[in-house]
Symmetry: C2
Subunit: 265 residues, 2 copies
DNA sequence: AATTAAGTTCCAAATAATGGAATAGCGATA
DNA sequence: TATCGCTATTCCATTATTTGGAACTTAATT
């Protein structure tokens, strides 16, 4: 009963680990540090069991327990993530092309990949203000209401796509958010035809984007590149024009992957 | 040979979880994705056991297995970290004071906290180029050769300090790196007296810094703020002058924590 | 002081992890 | 194409860990 819209995508209940990950999810998704009793209610586990599980997570640095008995995400997670990010080949190869795209348009550029039902943003290049770390990078967003997400979906074979969409539970973030599998599927087909996707203020009011699909040779990374900005500055006409440079950038990233990894595969 | 001095700090072998975390550590610390056999050699576990453990980690998105059978850190780690970072109160409170310090000096400012034997960088404010995400944030560095690290150590009570230092294994990163508990302990005492610490190119040749200790009321966060830069630009005299603004910034951060959290504790 | 709530510890029973061995997959070589 | 050698995967009786109800401690409240 702890499912909440875009929550944990997979969870085949991997024995002990799976149960612990559910707890980590609970704590990291909470708006504020949780007390033991709060988690007890959310997790629906016996007190003794829950207590030991939390203790183990704290001992490993995945959670932290402050002086008031409140559990917060542990900083060891940062270390893991920093390594994960620093060495990610897909991101490393995409980096210069994202920068070029940002230069060409002056707007914010994102790189994201599909993981389960979510898009995880791997990189972001912003124009004006110095980038606010982790502001977007690492964030998981729904696939059905983001440009990158829909671009990624358009790459899936019919069957996987059907399965994935069947498993979605739609949250209406704005008036334009898709709330039915039918209309979403219809747009995905259109995107597959034309080779790029729009986000027409579907995730956040006043924010539009145009995205193109990107994937790695071995399909480990299925995602997209996007240009994002405020609706008042980015007319739909302008976005339509930008579809071309976004697709070109996507193409260059894929070419980069082929050169870097292709020969050996 | 991928052990680099500041490896896994704790690990009380928390049953099943502990063993899995050792594997996660192995993979995230590796310079390149590892194949099954590589991990087999490093982990020293029976094949069957290792295989199932890795499968569980992959199922949970903590590791990823590419088409060539190579294991890399999983992107789910990014999502966890992004949440962990975004809501960290210590960082949120410190943020404006770090920015002020950067403005005042024009050099790079760091905020780090002690976790086990490592300093984990929570934030970074850089002057020139737009911040390269995760570049430093989240990174774990040794406590005995960084300004923030030594500042943090100077806050520990004698006994804990002794225990921690006794458990260190020193890696000589540069000619100036402390390589003995004695000289380190001596400098820590000096730092405790004067209230600030230098890094005299001890971690990276050509890089100096001055740091001041910061801690939260409940001692959950013990760390420091620092100004870092190239030795040719930052003379020791200049660093000595900057000790004052760094200590002031540290004081303001602690005051911020007191205001925000103090009343209720 | 009495009462309620919050957190911690205990231990027999249930469950999951272990690890040795057999099996399957895949390139390279003959 | 058959065979070898290496790598990865599956299987299952044994072993170790987790489970969860209950008792216990501690802190807050009336």
């Amino acid at each position: 009963m702890n499912s909440n819209g875009d929550g944990p995508a997979q969870s085949r209940e991997t024995g002990t680990l799976g149960k612990l990950m559910v707890l980590l999810d609970l704590v990291t998704h909470a708006d504020a540090p949780l007390r033991f009793t709060d988690i007890l209610a959310l997790a629906g586990q016996p007190r003794g069991t829950l207590h030991r599980q939390l203790s183990h997570l704290v001992e490993e640095g995945l959670l932290e327990l402050d002086g008031d008995g409140r559990y917060a995400p542990g900083l060891r997670l940062l270390d893991f993530a920093a390594r994960s990010w620093a060495r990610n080949e897909f991101r490393l190869i995409a980096e210069p092309h994202l920068a070029d795209l940002q230069q060409a348009t002056g707007e914010t550029v994102h790189l994201g990949v599909l993981r389960g039902q979510s898009i995880i943003y791997l990189d972001k290049v912003e124009g004006r203000q110095p980038v606010r770390m982790y502001s977007q990078i690492g964030n998981a967003s729904p696939c059905y209401c983001t440009g990158v997400g829909k671009a990624a979906l358009s790459l899936l074979p019919a069957e996987s796509l059907g399965d994935l969409i069947a498993g979605l539970s739609f949250t209406s973030f704005t008036a334009s958010t898709h709330v039915s599998a039918e209309t979403l599927l219809e747009e995905i087909r259109e995107i597959a035809d034309q080779g790029f996707a729009f986000d027409r203020e579907e995730h956040e009011a006043g924010i539009r984007c145009v995205a193109a699909p990107v994937w790695s040779e071995d399909r480990t990374f299925i995602g997209g590149v996007s240009i994002t900005g405020p609706a008042y500055r980015l007319s739909m006409e302008l976005l339509r024009q930008w579809a071309v440079p976004v697709q070109l950038a996507a193409g260059r990233i894929m070419e980069g992957m082929r050169v870097r990894l292709g020969p050996r595969r």
